[in-house]
Symmetry: C2
Amino acid sequence: MEKGEKIEVLATGLPASPGAAVGQIVFTAEEAVKQHNSGAYKSVILVRGETTPEDIAGMEVADGILTSRGGMTSHAAVVTRGMGKCCVAGAGDCVVDEANKELRVKGKTFKQGDYISLDGTTGRVIAGRLKTLDAQPNDPDLVKFMSWVDPVRRLHVRANADIPRDAKNAIAFGAEGIGLCRTEHMFFAEDRIEHMRTMILADNEKDRRAALKKLLPMQRADFVGLFKAMGSLPVTIRTIDPPLHEFLPKREDLLVEIQHLEDTKPRSPKLKELRPLLARVEELHEQNPMLGLRGCRLGITFPEITEMQARAIVEAAVAVKAKGGNPHPEIMIPLIGSIEEMRNQAAIVRRVADEVFAEKKTKVDYMVGTMIELPRAALTADQIAEEAEFFSFGTNDLTQTTYGISRDDINNFLPAYLKLGIFKHDPFSTLDQAGVGQLVKMAVAKGRNTRAKLKVGICGEHGGDPESVKFCHKIDLNYVSCSPFRLLTARLAAAQAALEEKLGVQGSSK
Amino acid sequence: MEKGEKIEVLATGLPASPGAAVGQIVFTAEEAVKQHNSGAYKSVILVRGETTPEDIAGMEVADGILTSRGGMTSHAAVVTRGMGKCCVAGAGDCVVDEANKELRVKGKTFKQGDYISLDGTTGRVIAGRLKTLDAQPNDPDLVKFMSWVDPVRRLHVRANADIPRDAKNAIAFGAEGIGLCRTEHMFFAEDRIEHMRTMILADNEKDRRAALKKLLPMQRADFVGLFKAMGSLPVTIRTIDPPLHEFLPKREDLLVEIQHLEDTKPRSPKLKELRPLLARVEELHEQNPMLGLRGCRLGITFPEITEMQARAIVEAAVAVKAKGGNPHPEIMIPLIGSIEEMRNQAAIVRRVADEVFAEKKTKVDYMVGTMIELPRAALTADQIAEEAEFFSFGTNDLTQTTYGISRDDINNFLPAYLKLGIFKHDPFSTLDQAGVGQLVKMAVAKGRNTRAKLKVGICGEHGGDPESVKFCHKIDLNYVSCSPFRLLTARLAAAQAALEEKLGVQGSSK
């Protein structure tokens, strides 16, 4: 905002994703898309209790996101940071009445179309329209400054980027590669979710393979775009990670809809459609989905999914190479807990790659590695490194399991913990060096004991947090990976860490 | 069953809790209580898709439990093992149609009142009424045999027991103390759940304290019973552990019931009651309750709960001592992940104990310790031992977080994992020595480094598994604790471990 401008702060939430946004509010993703596409609103701010993967299309077109629930690693926070889009999350004083399409805060009521402003750097929700300035990665002073910073650092920096547009942003902010491409984000796109659902609802391998076959060319095209954008820089692509029920309608919505139809339209043909859908959703329902059938467990239970993704990646790399490119895919298997799992998935990837190379009569360089995001992976990293050619620490999940705290649920007790001094900060924002960091250090040592030149990075949210970046420097990681818009911070912190080491400055230890 | 008897096996599920049961089937906990209390059925078998804490009263009166879903550590399995009651869990071939009160299996339909037999040792579900024999802990041959076994072992054995009746069983099977009393099981009793709900629904500390005050004398009476049953043997009592929503009706049931009332009786006064209840249930709803607001996080957020429980325990001990007893309570704080949490809860317990001692002008010996059930607790055990006077490994939870696998959801991929040889066995049945065991060993070493004489035990399900008991011997734990009915196995395995060590036999390492 401009200096001296008078503002009315309505509420302060979490500074979930930096930047500023000014626009007209909407309460559903559909409405965001509608108002954006029609041009009715020049700038849309999506206001939700919390966002879910189904809101992606609305988040894409919004200039800013405001949620009343959720923490620094809630869906809204993580996705917007990836998009480089302003987000204020968990603004508890805001009552988001989605049914009546009202935002009530500080005795005021805002309706669809009303203006608000968000400050993602401080978490402030502000009444009315403030003036803003665009971020300028090409600002000459900034470019000059970073030209002093970069030669000093030892740590490389990569970006978390899921689609070609993010990759271009990453390059603009100085990324030396992609550290995390989350392939499942591609499956939520409008033209794909249908095939994804068909795949999930299939009760046999043949039907699953038929649906996967339709997804293959789409995934391949995405990867072609990524490889083109990144040139010869490494691109780490993670195979599918989230539990499958995330791609289906919500269980409780189905239960209520079915009850309502039974009460009011018991002969509705929709019931015949919804009941089997609910049955499958019930089958996939889990008490603790974060600890359930996800990550490599999906690729092991349904190997045809890993096969399709490996094929899409390798075919894309071959295609880009054929046009004179020099792609470097690094295929990353998530949620590995044991050497046996790693061996199973690596074997599939390598077999499929060999098949593609034989078909296309060419080869590309690629690696197969894993995320280290479970304590057991860190504890047995010496074994896992026998199969994994690189490690990337998924410190969001590693923090979840090391502490036994779900990042989606931490807000129920985080305020009390911070107030009592039990936590000095949210462990999902700044890496817990004493606990999670101990496992990270252990895994680096064990991994390099087996494979001396093991490339090791970090791709959790901590990769963009200065304290955590300095820790990564100290324990000799090769790179940190973070959202494109946090790259400047990461580059600076990496340089500071190198200087502090050189000058013998003692960093803080948590 | 008797030798030579011809039997028809209907299905084979998991041998979730050993023993045999023969009786008439019912499909709800209420019906179990009704048929049992009226004397209509001499022996009741409760048949459910899966059991929940709300089924406890029915499980108490049933002679056996059959479920079609759930694994070796599902609710049905864990609770029945504690009760020493036969259970076959996850018998997937059985269709339990709770709506129509029918059990359909192998082309046959069984209705309420029909007889079936369960073999909890093999997991068999058998048609009709088999003849059974009671377990005989006092069988002279057995007593003689165990008199050879016990002098050999170094490991002590304790039992997991929640109520005085369990404690008496524990003594009969040779327990040298109680290793785990789960206080929350007491809250599900009919006369208490109401106060528990009032406490949870309260939106301020004063109302919470009023409800807790009503629970205090009930808890105290339970502990008096336990201390009396156990004489001068140690009794480890864990403060409240599960997430609070477990004490409330299920969210999806409320959603559906409200929708139905809105559709059919929109003026029903019940709606006025259900809507605020749903609102509180929504507030407490968590994505991953196992990683949410539970364990010490409850006692830290609502210190009045820990205060009430500490008071109930210490007052009970003082009362039993006043009548000539010699109780040894060990108060155990669950889900500790950091020294700061331990310090917070230990301070409350010690303050309340001092208050009670001052009021009653007497003292009893007691200890305050913790469960080690999170990787971070193991990693920082040296710090935690500054405050904790004993450790007890909660290896169910520690396995969950180390592997990142929910015990409630593992069945979605466990069959594939076993078939592919990725797992050699269910890690919730036999301790994973390479991963979870590594953390246990680390915590023992770190803990005893701080507090040389630290008493260390294990109270997870692994305490009754022979392989795991031998591991506990090898790493020099003081005791294992398991369900009363697994004590014979534990005693024997502990003696075998001692002999193998003496004779230099190499045990298997997983």
